[in-house]
């Protein structure tokens, strides 16, 4: 095009002169324009005018500049980018956390709605209100309560009362006087390490296992037993007691840890020589005879009427609480799993 223009001696368009002065043309286009300029005074004047316009534009724009300052180091920009990335990461984590809370709340609501269909269990403070077996409403088989990490919820007292194994639920028709598990007050003061007479068991009719028990602080119990202190994770500990007698030489003596559910009910986990544990369990008022406790030959979970136990060789792990047998069985499984994991 430019070549044709030069051949016909047409002048160079202004926009092409702008492009030429802005060095936006190819080398061959520049050569053609320069050849024409050499022969065309009019286009040379136009070029000079455009060059002046261009310079003037540059000068005018140059007045519209901010005060000259030192450019910040790129490290400043890098730091800002890093903070931005961290902020984004935190925001993503917060969103994920919020989503998990919403999911947990939803699950809790669902569980609450579901479990609330089960008949509420009687609490230890009012055992006489416990409904008779004939009054118990049937519940789905899959409504077996599971002990959660935060087991101290009001729902712990609202679990099914059905006995899956009637032969083992021997205590259901018997007087349901628990072994002084009733109305355990929340402990406000820190546990103390001291010697005391037994506060458990309490019944005057039961053997006292030598009669001497030590009450330990939680820290003291952990110091003495390490991770093998029987307890359920997530529940406040209100009392730890260790039997002083009855254990075979060289073996750990019986230990009873009382913990409190959010409903106020006390659940006790017991670990010790099988003979001592079964003796303690049998000492409860209304305990079954013959003993329903697991034996060395049949170590699986067994019990009833507020107590459940299982054997580990010559040791026995047990739970007592005024809960249904199924609840106790589930708590027993959980306790066993936790003890194995420690």
């Amino acid at each position: 095009m430019i070549g044709n223009m030069r051949e016909t001696m047409r002048h160079i368009p202004e926009d092409e002169l702008h492009s030429y002065l802005d060095q936006a043309l190819s080398r061959s286009q520049c050569v053609e324009i320069e050849s024409h300029l050499a022969a065309c005074e009019s286009c040379r004047r136009a070029r000079d005018n455009i060059a002046a316009l261009r310079d003037r534009t540059t000068a005018l724009l140059a007045t519209l500049a901010p005060p000259r300052r030192f450019s910040p180091s790129i490290d400043v920009v890098r730091e800002r980018a890093s903070e931005r990335a961290t902020h984004r990461h935190r925001r993503r984590r917060a969103m994920a956390w919020a989503a998990s809370v919403v999911a947990a709340l939803g699950l809790g609501w669902w569980a609450n709605t579901y479990v609330s269909h089960a008949q509420p269990a009687t609490t230890a403070v009012a055992p006489d209100r416990r409904p008779a077996p004939a009054d118990r409403a049937p519940v789905p088989r899959d409504a077996i309560p599971v002990a959660h990490g935060h087991a101290g919820t009001a729902d712990d007292g609202a679990v099914e009362m059905r006995a899956d194994h009637p032969a083992k639920a021997l205590g259901s028709a018997a007087p349901t006087q628990p072994i002084r598990l009733v109305a355990m007050p929340r402990v406000a003061e820190p546990p103390r390490l001291e010697l005391s007479t037994a506060s458990l068991p309490t019944s005057s009719s039961e053997p006292a296992l030598g009669g001497i028990w030590r009450t330990l602080s939680w820290a003291g119990a952990q110091t003495e037993r390490g991770d093998s202190v029987p307890h359920i994770d997530g529940l406040p500990v209100v009392e730890v007691q260790v039997g002083q007698a009855g254990a075979a030489a060289g073996s750990k003596s019986i230990m009873v840890v009382a913990q409190q559910l959010a409903s106020g009910e006390v659940i006790r986990t017991i670990e010790g020589p099988a003979a001592d544990v079964s003796q303690l369990l049998n000492s409860r008022p209304g305990a079954q005879n013959p003993s329903p406790w697991p034996t060395a030959a049949d170590p699986g979970i067994a019990g009833g009427d507020g107590a459940m136990a299982m054997r580990h060789g010559d040791r026995m792990l047990a739970i007592t609480a005024q809960l249904s047998n199924d609840s106790l069985r589930a708590m027993m499984r959980r306790l066993n799993a936790e003890m194995r994991g420690r």
């Binding site: 202004e14 926009d15 092409e16 702008h18 492009s19 802005d22 936006a24 455009i50 316009l53 261009r54 003037r56 534009t57 540059t58 005018l60 724009l61 007045t63 519209l64 500049a65 901010p66 005060p67 300052r69 450019s71 910040p72 790129i74 400043v76 920009v77 890098r78 800002r80 980018a81 931005r84 990335a85």
Partner: protein
């Protein structure tokens, strides 16, 4: 020194200037320029020079919209601390200096958005193909647009300057 750091060294001032002519606030222009390079660090664009000016233009556009919403975007140059008085200028000269700046600014603002954008991008050092890519123009149309924008800017400034002189004479 990586490519982006090199670009930062050579382009940061041009980006600040480009932004200042759009937001008319020196501090804000610097802040937005840093934001541009923060984003460049995160995105690692293939054509970084054109990319940073494209992002700068977008940020300035958002800023202008926000300023319109706040109804405070027409800050007088005399009240703009970023412009600042030139040192050692007498009071009368200062007034004339401010008027001249205001005339240039008015002349620039009198251009169409496309003409102004092309002119500022060219002044920032972008090539015709880069300007074309950013504005959507054909490369061949960039020279035409620039020719028109330069002429209109100078004409508008001369008219404004002539009016100011007529008012004082």
């Amino acid at each position: 020194m990586d490519d982006l750091e090199q670009l930062y060294q050579t382009t940061y001032s041009a980006v600040v200037r480009f932004l200042y002519r759009k937001v008319w606030d020196a501090d804000r222009a610097e802040d937005l320029a840093q934001e541009v390079f923060v984003r460049a660090l995160a995105h690692r664009p293939e054509k970084p020079r054109a990319w940073v000016f494209a992002v700068a233009a977008n940020l300035a556009r958002d800023e202008a919209r926000a300023a319109i919403r706040r109804k405070r975007h027409l800050t007088l140059l005399t009240g703009d601390p970023g412009q600042g008085p030139t040192p050692n200028i007498a009071a009368d000269d200062q007034v004339e200096h401010d008027e001249r700046l205001q005339a240039v600014r008015d002349a620039l603002e009198s251009l169409t958005p496309r003409d102004k954008e092309v002119l500022l991008l060219w002044d920032a050092g972008l090539s015709y193909p880069e300007i074309a890519e950013q504005t959507g123009l054909a490369v061949g149309a960039v020279g035409t647009t620039l020719a028109r924008a330069r002429k209109r800017l100078v004409d508008a400034y001369d008219r404004q300057h002539a009016r100011d002189h007529a008012a004082y004479s």
